[in-house]
Amino acid sequence: MRRFINRRPGRQVGLLLAALPFLLLTAVYLAASGARLEVNPKDKLLPAPSSFVEAMAEMAFEEDKRSGQVLFWADTGASLRRLGLGIAVATLFGLTIGLSIGLFPYVTSTLDPFVAVVSMIPPLAVLPILFITFGLGELSKVVLIIVGITPFLIRDVAFRVRELPEELLVKAQTLGASSWQILLRVAGPMIFPRLIGALRLSLGPAWLFLIAAEAIAATEGLGYRIFLVRRFLAMDVILPYVVWITLLAFLMDWALAKLSRRLFPWAES
């Protein structure tokens, strides 16, 4: 008998094993939901699958009577806009500031301790400040995402730059590279795949801050909708929304991984 650490599932068994927890969760839900509905057909806590379909058909294909919008897609669009903008700006800051901190000792001395302290501020604690400063509109929600994930991106990029072999930086200098050229042609391109890795890790927090901001002050958005319908115990909307958010986050993560492999094949080994 081989040791457990040396036994590997085949491809098909692997797929089956991967599906198992999902199937198990679904089965547990269906059993629990069925049991509750049997006692009380009007139970709202664990709706039957048919209720999800009904509720979501209304949300996704019918115009809302009050706003004239199809709520599901309006919510999705609003949330993705905020998330995309926040992540884009945070990435830009993370890359430029992180590279500078990692590469230039004078910038390290100036900004490294500052970023280390700022990154310890709980972003949600400053959300009221953001609302006061930037108002309750789109800007404060985007800024919360930026404030939430930029410090991590900066520190990760700076750390990765310092991890680059000293030899390569020396080599570039013996090829006559200036500091700027080293940043542009050596350090920058070499940490791009690491930046995407950091970005993937930031997706979770970015969604967290988005939902939090939308829950507190918004008029549309996935997080706003969930917290709105909570008042009516509308689990038939909340659960599909949660699944949808999870799916979106998962797809973003997958796309980033794919992009990284496509653009930076040299970083794989």
Binding site: V170, Q173, W180, W266
Partner: protein
């Protein structure tokens, strides 16, 4: 003519001397090999020549001028590892030096300039025997091929001094002999001054016109780090004309 003059060179880290009292006069076009036990300052000596580290005392003159205090294009380097850029193809690795020289802001060449640079680079790539893999990335090359690339990359700016830090230490013996032939040939052709650190005595005598050995002359058994290493032997190697 002297390519490099070293006077009373001394280097210490936190008061612990690594190398001390080195005086040297290296003729232009020499192939200097440096041998010695691990941890006796060979690599430190090379880093001082490179300008990556500053001497604690003494001075280094290159063609009569004090050595700049940072690495520069007049002194090329090949390390044992991490000598080439993994994100660039073979061709781009070699073109890079020309791009740094000719494009201060973008660091990239385009159009006619790029074609000229590529021609020059391809000439060197062919000379080190990598013509057939010019589009490949370093990760797909063998260790010996990567070092060939590193040499081509270092030579593109025609440095007067080439520094080699155990460049063939990680290669198989057969491959190593090929590399010896290559580096000898390039050295003869270019007339540059070469400094090469190696563990391998045979290699040192085979290649060097001048063989330096580093060792500690004073030993305190109770404080093995109290004294630094210096040059204990300065031997004549092969003659330049007979080399190759």
């Amino acid at each position: 003519m002297s390519a490099v003059i070293i006077e009373g060179l001394w280097k210490a880290y936190d008061d612990l001397p690594v190398i001390e009292a080195i005086d040297l006069d290296i003729a232009s076009g020499s192939f200097v090999t440096i041998v010695g036990a691990s941890g006796c300052g060979k690599s430190t000596f090379l880093r001082l020549l490179l300008g990556q580290e500053q001497p604690t005392g003494g001075r280094i003159l290159v063609e009569g001028e004090p050595l700049p205090s940072e690495p520069g294009p007049e002194r090329g380097i090949v390390f044992q590892r991490y000598s080439v850029f993994p994100h660039l193809s073979v061709l781009d690795n070699v073109v890079l030096g020309l791009e740094f020289q000719q494009a201060p802001w973008s660091g990239r060449l385009f159009g006619q300039q790029r074609r000229l640079a590529e021609q020059e680079a391809e000439h060197l790539i062919a000379a080190v025997g990598l013509g057939h893999v010019r589009a490949a990335r370093p990760a797909s090359l063998s260790g010996g091929m990567q070092q060939r690339l590193a040499i081509a990359q270092a030579l593109i700016l025609k440095p007067k001094i080439l520094l080699l830090d155990e460049p063939f230490g990680a290669l198989d013996p057969g491959i190593r002999d090929d590399m010896h032939a290559l580096i000898s040939e390039l050295w003869q052709e270019t007339g540059m001054t070469v400094f090469m650190v190696t563990h391998d005595l045979r290699e040192a005598f085979k290649l060097g016109t001048r063989v330096l050995t580093f060792d500690k002359v004073r030993q305190d058994p109770h404080a093995p780090e109290a004294y630094g290493a210096t040059i204990t032997y300065d031997l004549q190697g092969r003659q330049r004309a007979a080399a190759g």
